[in-house]
């Protein structure tokens, strides 16, 4: 309920929102949990396993119970903590893991079976029959237990990733963080102050205390105004630093627009930041920890500090009469503040025999709460055991609990730092130097007084400034509360009934003890056996208490028992945020050739080749791909075809040692190539296998242009650069890619020279352009290059002009080709033509084949050394046992072969042991009709003419074929020499 005149947000606009279909009112900007509390909603979630009704426990991102789904439709977001989601007009939230509603959930029947559903239940129960696990048990269990669910649809909401840089990253804007930011900001350092809250201030916003003689929140406002006036300080709110990584890099999740009623469509929902900081101050504060006792999960049982947050910040309380239970002075603050706000406080139950008295509140020293009793809507009565052993029962609808504080050490563990047990505060604190460059300060380092935090923040900033070589001005630390932290450790209270440790995963004290009894004594084993700490809160609320119980059960101390590892992220991060921008085409850049638009305009379906898009074929009428492919291939054989080959890698190689360099990186020799001539080259990897192939043209004594395949262009460039820098640094070789500079088109077919004769300035004198020649040409005065090379087996040229003319040149070439009975051809026809000629692509040089395998063993220069030569001569990389490149032609004319089929001897069973090779490329053949294939066959070169069987187990086909020369069409090459 809302307390009149209370809460610092009392002037906020009232808005309507919906929860589980009910229309409710709340104050804009307050957490959903506060608005629900104001309306008397106590049940906000259902537990994971037993579907127990649960209310809100905390006021922060660690909330284990009040998880809701926000929004509807494709972009709905599950597992949003009601303590984090801000109320706005039109907000729609739904309870989770319940049917039909969180308030009335028929699955709560699970709770009746609780006695058999303890730790290890699955492992013990669903052992048999084994195959039932996947098909029956697991789906049933998954349906019954769980949290919220994604819509399963494509997420339409925009998300974002971004980078930020600073001298000092301050993580958390409580007293320590604010003071660190002020100190560093005043010294002129670039500061990022990140806080996961809506407003910076941390606990100062939630407490009734003074700083520098002012109410704490007023001091916060003053500090923020000063920070806002500093251009070198960036305050990032709603931003949770989620991980600490190498080299001072931090991940952070910013909630950008989830709090807005109608965000601009461009506004991302969340932004995942990667912050690069020279130094960092961790001022993450501490999390209050519960005490386990019977019924401590009932709605109405809350953390004592959270109650103060709801009271002071948002003016709401969960009930009319409260019991406060604690083991430290902080719990007493809650009793004091509730009483001052007019809430009936039935008792202050303090486990410490020497606890002070809370004025006006019955204080029971040395007493404990043994149980919270009540119904579906939560706590109705609280049982106590007094110091003298008497039991007492008090009527109350609210039970505030404090078992002390756990410093938020999580980020200090992200680089394998192990926190250190501090006996004095009965808590883990960060290990010294756990994350290089990061200094924990304040509550996260075990300093719990406000004054202590302010001092620690200033000190940490001064240290960081000194590291950064900056002068820190003398810092004035304001006066503030500086009470000692007096605590008597208390983790669990013995009693009848289930006492909960991990609320989110329904793990009880009994479960942990059972794990110990069954010899899961290691904390890691206990975690996995009970699932403690494995829910979305990652054990923030339960880890220390659970291992304290385990320590007790196994007779060891807490430091002996050790902790599990805190890993990033600190809070759940949606994959949508981490993968922002990578949906659909965002996954990789798209590379378009200059002829792309024209190809699309001609109806060509595009096929991806690396990042490039290339036309498959240019359909006419209702042609399918095969018909178009055959027509285009025939056109090239009979007239002239035009294909964009700009996607092939082109590398300019210059320098006095350019020829020597090419001799070294290619298996064959280029130093003997004359200027104006082109030669085919085969490139090996260091391990002797084929890396790539392509032609290299020599334009001058010290100037070559080498081409790579489309697929390996980047790899080859990187390889050449590595060889240049790493293996021959003293040579004069200069490399640069010119792939993007040139639009290059293959013009192939018996009429190719005729086409070019009309295009090139001064015409084409065929006698000056023998096969494998190259040189400069001009087209309309534009300087270009012409190469007489062929990948089709026909007389062929490749003409290159600067890319700006590519679109126009393609249109011109296509139009001229069409006038000669030809036209453009796509990848399918290009493939069909080269398969007839036995020309290889990366289907054949796939990384496991050697020069010997593809029949080019003799290209490896005998005279000079080259990369891969030594390794290629190893035993087993040549010889009859190798699978060698061959052609295949079906015995039965027209039978369709398939790439991927394996080759077997006739009569042999088609099993792995009899495998003789495989098919790599298949294409329609216009020269022979039907289909042709290329592939590898053991000792294949000695087996031409043999009949084998091609078996494709995947497609279920079986084709008899004869083994051929790889070059099946025009083996003498008369056509391409023209």
């Amino acid at each position: 309920m809302r307390l009149a005149g209370k809460g610092r947000n009392r002037d906020a606009e009232e808005v309507r929102f919906r929860f589980d279909g009910r229309e409710l009112r709340g104050r804009a900007g307050e957490p959903l949990a506060a608005a629900l509390m104001a309306q008397g909603v106590r049940v906000m979630g259902r537990s994971f396993k037993y579907h127990r009704p649960r209310g809100v426990m905390t006021a922060g991102s660690e909330e284990p119970n009040a998880l809701v789904t926000v929004g509807r439709g494709a972009g709905r977001e599950p597992n949003v903590r009601a303590t984090v989601q801000e109320v706005h007009a039109g907000l729609e939230a739904f309870g989770q893991n319940a049917w039909p509603l969180v308030d009335f959930d028929v699955m709560a029947v699970n709770d009746l079976f609780a006695p058999v559903l303890g730790a290890g239940f699955y492992y013990k129960t669903f052992m048999w029959p084994r195959r039932f696990w996947e098909k029956v048990y697991e789906p049933a269990i998954r349906r019954a237990a769980g949290l919220g669910a994604l819509s399963g649809e494509h997420n339409p909401d925009p998300y974002e990733k971004a980078f930020a840089f600073c001298d000092l990253l301050v993580i958390g804007a409580g007293p320590a963080g604010l003071m660190a930011a002020l100190t560093a900001g005043r010294a002129g350092a670039e500061v990022i102050l990140a806080d996961e809250g809506v407003e910076p201030g941390g606990r100062l916003l939630s407490e009734d205390e003074t700083v520098a003689g002012q109410p704490a929140h007023v001091w916060v406002a003053t500090a923020l105004a000063e920070l806002a006036a500093m251009p070198n300080v960036r305050v990032m709110t709603r931003t949770t630093v989620t991980g600490a990584y190498d080299q001072g890099t931090y991940g952070a999740l910013e909630r950008v627009s989830g709090h807005l009623a109608s965000p601009a469509p461009e506004l991302p929902r969340e932004c995942f930041w990667r912050i690069s900081a020279k130094r960092a101050v961790l001022a993450a504060g501490a999390l209050e920890r519960p005490v386990a006792f019977a019924g401590n999960d009932r709605p109405g049982v809350m953390m004592a500090s959270a109650l103060r947050s709801y009271l002071h910040r948002w003016g709401v309380v969960p009930g009319r009469s409260a019991v406060v239970f604690g083991n430290n002075d902080d719990a007493q603050r809650t009793a004091r503040d509730l009483a001052a706000a007019g809430v009936h406080v039935a008792a202050m139950v303090d486990a410490r025999p020497d606890a002070p008295e809370v004025p006006g509140v019955p204080t029971h020293r040395g007493a404990v709460v043994t149980g919270a009793a009540g119904g579906r809507q939560g706590v109705e009565a609280v049982s106590l055991r007094l110091e003298d052993g008497r039991e007492e029962r008090l009527a109350a609808d609210t039970l505030a609990v404090s078992g002390g504080w756990n410093p938020t050490v999580h980020l200090t563990c992200h680089m394998n730092g192990r926190p250190v047990w501090n006996e004095e505060i009965a808590a883990f604190v960060p290990a010294e130097g756990a994350v290089p460059g990061l200094t924990p300060a304040g509550a996260c380092a075990g300093v719990f007084s406000t004054r202590g935090c302010l001092e620690a923040g200033a000190r940490a900033a001064r240290e960081a400034l000194a590291d950064l070589g900056r002068q820190a001005p003398a810092a004035e630390v304001p006066e503030a509360e500086d009470a000692p932290y007096r605590l008597r450790p208390l983790w669990a209270v013995e009693g009848k009934g289930r006492a909960w440790l991990d609320f989110q995963n329904d793990v009880t004290v009994k479960d942990v003890k059972l794990a110990a009894r069954e010899n899961y004594r290691s904390v890691e084993h206990m975690k996995r056996y009970t699932t403690q700490g494995m829910a979305p809160d990652q054990g923030k609320n339960s880890n220390v208490a659970a291992l304290a119980v385990l320590a007790d059960a196994t007779g060891r101390s807490i430091p002996e028992t050790g902790t599990t590892t805190f890993r990033p992220p600190y809070v759940p991060v949606s994959i949508a945020a981490m993968g922002a921008g990578a949906q659909g085409e965002g996954f990789a850049p798209v590379r378009h050739t200059t002829s792309h638009a024209a190809s699309r305009a001609r109806g060509a379906p595009m096929v991806e080749a690396g990042l490039w898009y290339r036309p498959s074929y240019f359909p006419q009428g209702d042609e399918d791909w095969e018909a178009a492919c055959r027509r285009e291939a025939r056109m090239v054989r009979a007239a002239v075809g035009v294909a964009d080959v700009s996607t092939l890698g082109k590398i300019d190689v210059q320098g006095a040692d350019a020829a020597r360099f090419l001799d070294f990186v290619y298996a064959n020799t280029f130093s003997t190539l004359k200027p104006g001539r082109v030669r085919y080259g085969l490139m090996l990897r260091e391990d002797g296998h084929v890396m790539d192939d392509g032609t290299t043209a020599r334009f001058g004594e010290d100037h070559f242009v080498t081409t790579t395949t489309t697929a390996a262009a980047g790899e080859v460039m990187a390889h050449l650069e590595w060889v240049r820098q790493g293996l021959c640094p003293a040579w004069d070789v200069r490399l640069i890619s010119v792939t993007e500079q040139w639009a290059q088109f293959a013009v192939a077919g018996p009429k190719s020279a005729e086409l070019l004769d009309g295009l090139i300035d001064g015409g084409l004198d065929k006698s000056a352009w023998p096969f494998m020649s190259c040189g400069p040409v001009t087209v309309q005065g534009i300087e270009g290059r012409l190469f007489r090379i062929s990948f089709s087996g026909e007389e062929g040229y490749e003409i290159a002009l600067p890319a700006r003319y590519g679109a126009a040149l393609f249109e011109e070439l296509a139009t001229r080709a069409e006038a000669l009975g030809g036209g453009p051809y796509g990848m399918e026809a290009l493939n069909a033509l080269r398969v007839e000629k036995g020309f290889i692509t990366h289907a054949e040089i796939h990384g496991r084949t050697t020069a010997f395998d593809i029949g080019m063993g003799r290209m490896v220069s005998a005279k000079t050394d080259c990369i891969g030569k030594a390794a290629a001569s190893r035993e087993g990389l040549s010889g009859p046992e190798r699978e060698q490149l061959v052609g295949f032609r079906p015995v039965e004319e027209g039978a369709a072969m398939s790439a991927g089929a394996h080759v077997f001897a006739e009569g042999a069973e088609a099993v792995r042991e009899n495998d003789q090779g495989y098919v790599t490329s298949v294409a329609p053949s216009v020269a022979f009709g039907g289909w042709l294939a290329l592939g590898f066959l053991r000792d294949g070169r000695a087996r031409h003419g043999e009949t084998v069987v091609l078996v494709d187990h995947l497609r279920g086909t079986r084709v008899r074929a004869t083994v051929q020369e790889p070059v099946q069409f025009d083996p003498e090459g008369g056509r391409l020499r023209g």
Binding site: E266, L267, V590, H592, A656, Q741, Y805
Partner: protein
């Protein structure tokens, strides 16, 4: 025969504006990669000064002259942008025409670095990345060259074939930053 018409890499895609950021395609003139031979950086520096009034840049820097700029692009490599290279340069360096290889765009406006912070893992804010600073880095998944050419102007060069992705990525980032500015200035949510 019809005259072969030149097409720019970002034809039909630019200019565009979002908030106080502008993105426009630039005709940089000639782009020539310069790669000095072993021990010839000094000679190239002198030749560049003599021919084009700009020197050979240190890594990470660009010399922005009147009409000619030299932008560092890699180990022993820079681009001469603007004029056709004087033939004398060829005595000290390997020259390669790259005029058509790059999509060149200018992102201007105070928020330019903020938009690029969505895409580029380098601090491009003016007080860190001052006029004449240049970087070879990533823009999303693309390899680019970014140079600050003015107090509020960043020149971005990406592969020509990726112009569509370049513009799309930049537009998205610019619109998102503009939408955030709308939030800060208290404009209505929408």
């Amino acid at each position: 025969m019809a005259e072969l018409r030149a097409t720019t890499p970002c034809a039909g895609l630019l200019p565009l504006r979002a908030g106080a950021m502008w993105l426009e395609e630039v005709d940089p003139g000639r782009i020539t990669s310069l790669m000095p031979g072993p021990g010839q950086a000094g000679a190239l520096d002198a030749a560049l000064h003599a021919a084009h009034g700009v020197g050979w840049p240190d890594p990470g820097t660009a010399h922005l002259g009147d009409g000619a700029a030299v932008i560092w692009t890699g180990m022993d490599q820079a681009m001469l942008v603007g004029p056709a290279p004087e033939p004398a340069l060829a005595e000290a360096a390997a020259l390669t025409d790259q005029s058509d290889a790059w999509a060149v765009v200018d992102l201007s406006g105070e928020d330019g670095p903020e938009a690029l912070a969505r895409l580029v893992p380098v601090d491009l804010r003016a007080h860190v990345f001052a006029e004449g600073a240049t970087a070879r880095t990533l823009l999303g998944h693309m390899s680019v060259s970014i140079t600050r050419t003015g107090p509020e102007r960043l020149r971005i060069m990406a592969f020509r074939s990726m112009a569509g992705t370049l513009v799309h990525e930049l537009q998205t980032a610019m619109e998102r930053v503009a939408a955030r500015r709308g939030l800060e200035t208290g404009a209505p949510d929408g």
